[in-house]
Symmetry: D2
Subunit: 127 residues, 4 copies
């Protein structure tokens, strides 16, 4: 199963703020796209997971911003699975513009059912 | 039943773009807050409507932007119900900063069930 | 100069709402991406326009929503320039999922300078 | 100078996702509103700071999500300044719904000029 991948994202005008850079609240959205693609490359569409009653909720998020991202920049977001337990999965991320790393991040996701109760990650989803 | 009301909204930094004004995609969000409050003043929380299987979807939206809205501006959004039919409701909006009208808008909402099928608007909801 | 083009956009999880569909405030953002790409295909990056003191502001926006867009849908947004005057440009849009048209839209943009004053659209930008 | 404060924020429909809860990317926006109000209570409008060439950029952000926030919830965001150095300021946050704490967070902001270069925090701004 794929344990790392890259996505490209072009910074949207609507994501930028008066400082002329991507607002920091745009980054969690890009990270989410990256880990969703990682899942997809492992053969699982998150959409079908939810349809099957398997949800992942963000339990922890941390981001370190080193350089600004500008409007229209094409960024590369690298994601890799760093740890998997029975009910949690951790990812680490790097955001790059060309050969310049502009941010690093980490998330912890918990697996829950439709009612928000913790449940084991189904076999084959992230392992 | 209340057929018009006003809300106040302060322009968020994250809603502003590199032109230093509120991005136009922020306005539909403010309009939605306004018509939700109108509903609430009529005694109905949209949250409880959804719980009861009654959903309103936006079928048409139009906005005319006359003046920019700046970061930290306190705006007043006036909403009034302009037309109600068996399955649709129309609203008209004005966005004001002080005594200056900066935008006007209109929406048409359709009433649907959990599966997106058109259904009659329940008695007492917008009439 | 290119007067129409298509872009693809995948519906992001963060763009979807409790009705399990893309929130209507996401559409203006997609339309903006489409007309920016149209500009780019005509040889102009909007980023460089702004650097040169040429800004386009949305004066009018209207959207008609026919079908919902679901999370993870790959949509095609078609944009074409419908009218150009000395200081304004109008675009028409269609949003498609496969062979199903899910929305139509129109915008009017005004050309302004850094201080928001109307100015003529520079030669070669949209004509 | 005020070193802690509370704001109230009502969860917007557009901030909620298909899991029927506020998307995690909404939280950084609320935190920003809270620390802006803290600044205001200290007598400083961030808007006027930017006009004077003083910008604060987020260098680090971490959030721990304990409970979901639902649509229409009225949340209380508590912010306090935890550390101030010559060019950085740190804040800690708690997000509450009634007497239930649903999230904690921390940010580090750096003070920069219009061109993104680090500059000392002006006297009287956060101290």
């Amino acid at each position: 199963m794929a344990s790392e991948t890259d996505i490209q994202v072009r910074v949207r005008y609507a994501e930028c703020d008066p400082m002329n850079v991507a607002h920091h609240s745009a980054y969690p959205v890009w990270l989410e796209i990256a880990r969703t693609e990682l899942l997809r490359q492992g053969g699982v569409a998150y959409r079908s997971l939810e349809a099957a009653g398997v949800f992942f909720v963000v339990a922890r998020l941390s981001i370190s911003f080193q350089k600004p991202a500008y409007y229209d920049d094409v960024l590369r977001v690298h994601v890799r699975t760093t740890q998997v337990s029975r009910v949690k999965v951790e990812h680490a991320y790097e955001v790059w513009r060309g050969d310049q790393r502009i941010a690093t991040a980490a998330t912890t996701l918990g697996c829950v059912d439709r009612d928000g109760r913790v449940q084991p990650i189904p076999e084959g989803v992230v392992r």
